[in-house]
Symmetry: D2
Subunit: 149 residues, 4 copies
């Protein structure tokens, strides 16, 4: 299974409507079309902050999952909101800033369809090659590279 | 409109299924029944990290909205994951740690139905209450541009 | 008093040995020569993490103080360590990512004399510029207490 | 060498004047007498934010070093300032919130001599039993328990 497909098979990623457009070792991209269900205010004009943090968490995984060949649990995430998400689409890119032996630090930038900065996030993710799978990973399929190990 | 109702009228809060159980000045609580759509892994065993960060953001608002009497936009949010959310329900409580003239700092603790700690979050929220010059600035000289004002 | 001088007059900035090299509205730079007193390990080979976080906090101020014309208290700061500071000098640059009515979000990048990334930090600072109701609040209903105002 | 002594042998910990008062597995305490050199404003009334973040980083280590029996490098640290440090002494306590296989999450609370909350911090620290020592640890002595391994 390729990394894009593996991430998109997550039920919550599908429930939100996130599409993974790139997932390479240390770099990835995703998009989210904003629908009525994503709104914070009742009149539907602006996406809820929780949509954006959930999107940021998922985008980060596009850069880390290919490194590990398996799911990379979030250890922590910080998100800063730069402008209201009064838009039709969110675009996110993720870049690994530090690749350690057991964790990676990832930067995520989120913009709207016009390039306006919506949010910036940074997180620490568990990215390693453990002897045994962690309890965080139960229920996830393996990538082909994982199977080959 | 009371604060609980105001928060629950948000389309995304409803889409996630969050129920607000308390919303007072500086303190609030909410719950979320975990459904299949919240799963991270395809087999549905553990809630996605994005569910938990979105829940944390919403729980924080239960403590800040009553302070401001209006929506209190998230400026930043930091979440640390303590245990996998392999559970039936998330319970969240929020407490304001600092109440400033324009922002508030809020702590959120998220547990499952058995009391196991799932995540802890902290955020800065825009909670306006304009006042005079803050006590943080005492003792500093002014720049010329400041004097000219 | 110009902003560089104003920051350097802080006793702790002098005690650490930080030199401010640029301080403009939304952008600034500083440097720190690493001395024996800055070491974490007893043999003096690597700067202590606390030196780097204190440096990051000061660097951030070079970009915010000129915006406000006065000291801009730190509300929160997150620092991520990328490589050990086994070096002779720290260079820091700060850029404002969001300029709000009462707060600003600042990014800080810290490298050593060879350009190696040592740490990256992000913080929220109190930078007052009171305005009217923010665009973040559009579309939300008001509570009764708000209507009564 | 006991953990308190090991931390206090750090040149920067000594330069700041931090005293370690307790260092156990998962819990620790330290204090810092505020001197003129710690001031942020020129008139010396309030401790600089960088003093407090450096203190928080050191306090966190009192809870993690005894777990690992060696230095525990900071991966990230987030600090929120609650009240100006217009005081004579900082007291800090650290508690491990999550003890993972390779990292630990630590909470730090900082108060002044009257019990007033000055800051709250949370960080992720590298706490493990690696086959080989990481490059972050060069130059540190080993504790007795480390030597016994």
């Amino acid at each position: 299974m390729d990394p894009e497909e593996m991430i998109e098979r997550s039920p919550f990623v599908g429930y939100l409507g996130i599409e993974i457009t790139r997932a390479e070792e240390g770099y990835g991209e995703a998009t989210l079309e904003i629908e009525d269900c994503h709104a914070g205010p009742p009149d539907g004009s602006i996406a809820h902050g929780g949509v954006i943090s959930a999107f940021a968490d998922t985008v980060a995984g596009t850069a880390t999952l290919p490194l590990a060949g398996r799911v990379t649990p979030t250890i922590d995430l910080r998100i800063d909101y730069l402008n209201p998400a009064n838009c039709e689409r969110l675009n996110g890119i993720a870049e690994v800033r530090r690749k350690g032996s057991s964790i990676s630090i990832v930067d995520v930038e989120i913009t709207d369809e016009s390039g306006c900065e919506i949010a910036t996030a940074r997180g620490v993710f568990k990215v390693d090659n453990p002897k045994e799978r962690s309890q965080w990973e139960d229920g996830w399929p393996k990538t082909e590279s994982d199977v080959e190990e």
